[in-house]
């Protein structure tokens, strides 16, 4: 049976892993390559490295981190953050990434998704969507924000996910800005709305705090994979323990691995 995936995410700034709460308030948490390998050994099904600064000066630092990580990591490895063109994507693939996550640049130019997919295959292109609840009650919807959650786009998350799929995305990485870093559970309504609208895998992100949150997002949220950062690298929830709990709840898991 196809398992649900547990993905460890490393938010990287200037070559170091950091983690914020609701996209701000960063703190240092270690070396990305070392942490990626440790997560792989602990049972992570994939590793995602998100370059959250993505300034020009930090680009070569990032590529070096990608190279060091990829040399020893033999599970799927995604790199995102600051990928604005096919050339940016190519540099990251050349350094050893298996997939790239595109976000703001795809919002500005949806054809970028197709350009990368044409050269590297759809399986190599993840469209990352940062979504935020807008309005209340019956009028509530999920808006899309760009540039690390800083700018509203006027787009609807469900519609954008569908467009991304049609443009050639192989997966959707869906982050709830409302839940990011809060550790009080994923936004299952958001995840379910997007998962029901597309036929490609949806990775839920934002809000992981305990095993029950993962069970909820796989059941109610219909997620194919769930991503977490701080609970893994701060050692709050060891991945192995989480996978055992999920397996006990009859969520199909790659465990032991």
């Amino acid at each position: 049976m196809l398992t649900k995936r547990i993905i460890a995410c490393l938010d990287v700034d200037a070559g170091r892993v950091v983690k914020g709460v609701q996209f701000t308030g960063l703190r240092d948490a270690g070396d990305p390559a070392e942490l990626a390998l440790a997560h792989g050994r602990a049972g992570a099904d994939e590793v995602v490295l998100l370059d959250i600064s993505a300034t020009y000066e930090n680009r070569s630092t990032l590529l070096d981190v990608v190279r060091r990580t990829a040399r020893q990591l033999f599970i799927p490895f995604t790199v995102g953050g600051g990928i604005r063109s096919l050339d940016d994507a190519a540099a990251v693939f050349d350094a050893g990434a298996d997939k790239v996550a595109v976000n703001s640049a795809a919002l500005a130019d949806p054809a970028l998704i197709g350009r990368i997919a044409h050269r590297y295959g759809s399986q190599a292109v993840i469209v990352a969507i940062d979504a935020l609840r807008v309005g209340n009650g019956k009028g509530m919807s999920f808006g899309v924000k760009a540039t690390g959650g800083r700018h509203a786009t006027g787009r609807d998350a469900v519609a954008w996910a569908r467009e991304a799929e049609q443009s050639g995305a192989g997966e959707i990485l869906l982050t709830s800005i409302d839940r990011d870093g809060m550790r009080d559970g994923f936004d299952c309504e958001l995840t379910s709305a997007v998962a029901g609208a597309v036929n490609i895998p949806v990775i839920a992100s934002g809000g992981a705090g305990a095993a029950e949150h993962f069970i909820e997002v796989f059941r109610q949220g219909r997620a194919d994979a769930a991503l977490a950062a701080s609970i893994f690298h701060l050692g709050i929830t060891p991945i192995g323990e989480l996978k055992r709990d999920l397996q006990a709840a009859e969520i199909p898991m790659r465990w032991p691995c």
Partner: protein, 195 residues
């Protein structure tokens, strides 16, 4: 030396990195002369079956000649599908026809592509899978699949059974990505290196 055939179908570097890690010399090459000198050949690749059009001509002739000389050949993902007769993904093209059958899409009852870790059901004796724990998990990412045939030694279940591993003599094919399948995948690649 293991020749990793470069036909511009996705990122081949991860396959090479796995061989580097295992301590076996390999080279990514599109040069028929270099491939002719190899003692093993890997046909990697992801994406559309149309990409295999780049193999026709000298590359295909070289690969076929090497197969005749019983040089072990491992097709990965799209590379494995090319070892079958054809694929509905690009019906105008022919595969190598080393394994009988046509690759087809997953049924509409399941999400496609099939992305993630799924269990390998060992279905026969295999040199490639020797020593691999039964029901090992391996990483898949594909929209088309090869049917279960006589040469199938590993099956997988997703909207029905399909070939995850085929093997006959010195011909091997895997639908999943051993270079991305953790310890299980490295085990399989080591078996191939040590043939």
């Amino acid at each position: 030396m293991i020749a990793i055939v470069d036909y511009k179908a996705g990122n081949l570097a991860s396959v090479k990195k796995a061989f580097d890690y295992l301590g076996h010399e390999s080279a990514i090459t599109a040069d028929p002369a270099a491939i002719s000198r190899a003692d093993k050949i890997v046909l990697p690749g992801v994406g559309n079956f149309e990409a295999t059009a780049a193999l026709s001509g000298p590359l295909q002739e070289t690969v076929v000649r090497m197969i005749d000389r019983q040089v072990p050949l491992l097709g990965i993902c799209l590379g494995m599908q090319w070892m079958f007769d054809s694929s509905r993904e690009a019906p105008q093209l022919r595969g190598l026809g080393l394994f009988v059958g046509e690759c087809e899409k997953f049924p509409a009852t399941v999400k496609s592509p099939h992305v993630g870790w799924n269990q390998l059901q060992v279905a026969g004796t295999s040199r490639l899978l020797r020593g691999l724990p039964p029901d090992s998990f391996v990483y898949f990412t594909h929209s088309y699949r090869a049917p279960v045939v006589d040469a199938t030694v590993g099956k997988c279940e997703y909207g029905g059974s399909f070939s995850a591993v085929v093997e006959r003599g010195d011909l091997f094919g895997v639908q999943f990505h051993p270079e991305k399948s953790g310890a299980a995948g490295l085990h399989l690649l080591r078996n191939f290196c040590e043939l």
